[in-house]
């Protein structure tokens, strides 16, 4: 039966592809076809049809490799997974209808063919979904790593003075990272003053404030001072309304004033030099 299906597909390839493209264009929710060039659509369609036939004829290994290549390609093209499963269903449907019309499938062997078609489409669908989710998982984990690298680094700006700029949302995981990097950095750079810059933190709620207070307490324990800088006016107002007590902190509106203050604490200042 596999042979019969493959022969039918190969003999009627052009018609099947044309029908299939029409059906996929009719899928209103899926713009994947509309945004691609005609040539690209034709090429990808032929590849897809080839893949569908290859699963009937070739050894599992060859087919598996082709499938992976194709799935990776469509992921790159940005075709959605619903689009791909629809593509498989439509393709099988067209072949089935076509074979019924020419009489290869008739009431006597219909049961066998239905079974055969199910066995044909199901594994393709499964491995397509598998490849898709693998590709997404990889993207997400890479982004997570990229985010972590951006997360929290302590930068020594002057002798004994270090700055940690915080940009973006602070969640529990990041809060832990901030605490670790802060303490490691203070010891490593022998900092006496650490400036936590929250200019880039969009929302300071009680949890974020709590983590900042804990981090500052810990910094005090290793013998340095912690200063909170970059408090925007609207953040200042919400902190006050929330009733968060930051009285134990030195805070400034900008990093620049924080640095000046830090230098003052370590008995230094920046002066302009007049050229002689």
């Amino acid at each position: 039966m596999n042979k019969q299906m493959a022969t039918y597909i190969q003999e009627n390839m052009t018609d099947i592809i044309a029908d299939w493209q029409q059906k996929m264009r009719d899928e209103k929710d899926e713009p994947s076809f509309q945004v691609m060039s005609e040539e690209m659509v034709n090429q990808t369609s032929r590849e897809f049809a080839g893949l569908m036939t290859s699963s009937l004829l070739e050894s599992y290994q060859i087919y598996e490799n082709r499938l992976r290549d194709f799935a990776e390609k469509v992921v790159r093209l940005g075709w959605s997974i619903t689009f791909m499963t629809k593509a498989i269903d439509h393709f099988a449907e067209i072949v089935y209808e076509g074979m019924r019309k020419v009489g290869t499938i008739h009431p006597d062997n219909m049961d066998g063919f239905i079974h055969e078609f199910a066995n044909w489409a199901q594994p393709i669908r499964n491995s397509m979904i598998h490849t898709y989710s693998k590709a997404w998982e990889r993207t997400v984990s890479l982004q997570k790593i990229a985010l972590q690298e951006l997360s929290a680094s302590l930068i020594p700006v002057f002798d004994k003075v270090s700055v940690m700029p915080l940009v973006g949302t602070i969640d529990t995981e990041r809060a832990k990272l901030i605490m670790e990097n802060l303490l490691d950095g203070v010891v490593k750079h022998r900092a006496e003053v650490v400036l936590l810059d929250i200019t880039g933190v969009p929302v300071v709620d009680t949890m974020v404030a709590h983590h900042i207070i804990q981090a500052a307490d810990a910094v005090r324990l290793v013998g340095a001072k912690c200063m909170l800088v970059g408090i925007r006016p609207e953040i200042a107002q919400t902190i006050v309304t929330l009733g968060i007590n930051l009285n134990d902190f030195t805070t400034t509106s900008t990093l620049q004033r924080g640095v000046e203050q830090a230098l003052a604490w370590t008995n230094r200042k920046i002066v302009e030099v007049e050229e002689v």
Binding site: D171, T206, M207, H210, T238, L242
Partner: protein, 133 residues
């Protein structure tokens, strides 16, 4: 008359999604930056409470228009364990999670109207409104 949209809270990152939704609606309604910060902070607190204590729930954001006034309504609903003593959680500094204990009383101060309904074992429904002045 109201327009609404909602975010399911299942993971910590959904808090960010809820906040973003609230900020967009607030901006659209014409709230200033200070009120935008208040509204997003309130959403952040309520969403975090759902995540921490109920495990899952939803944040709904509605646009209000009543008597010529415009406003934003935040609904935080969950089917969690409920709050045993509402009066206690509305006190500043009361916490069961080792936090600051400023969350709910803070939200009440950040917003104009604040209503809390909770049934033990069935869930909690908090509604907070901010009017555009």
């Amino acid at each position: 008359m109201s327009d609404q949209s909602s975010v399911e809270i299942l993971t910590e990152w959904d808090i960010v999604a809820a906040r973003q939704l609230g900020r967009n609606v607030a901006k659209e309604l014409g709230f200033g930056t200070v009120d935008q910060a208040r509204i997003t902070t309130a959403i952040s607190e309520l969403a975090r409470n759902i995540y921490l204590y109920a495990g899952q729930g939803r944040i709904e954001i509605q646009q209000l228009a009543e008597n010529g006034m415009k406003g934003i309504l935040i609904i935080a609903a969950d089917s969690g364990p409920g709050i045993p003593d509402v009066r206690k959680v509305m006190e500043d500094g009361f916490t069961t999670s080792g936090g600051l204990g400023a969350g709910l009383p803070g939200v009440k101060r950040l917003m104009d109207d604040f209503k809390i309904e909770t049934i033990q074992g069935e869930g909690t429904d908090i509604r907070a409104t901010k009017w555009l002045r």
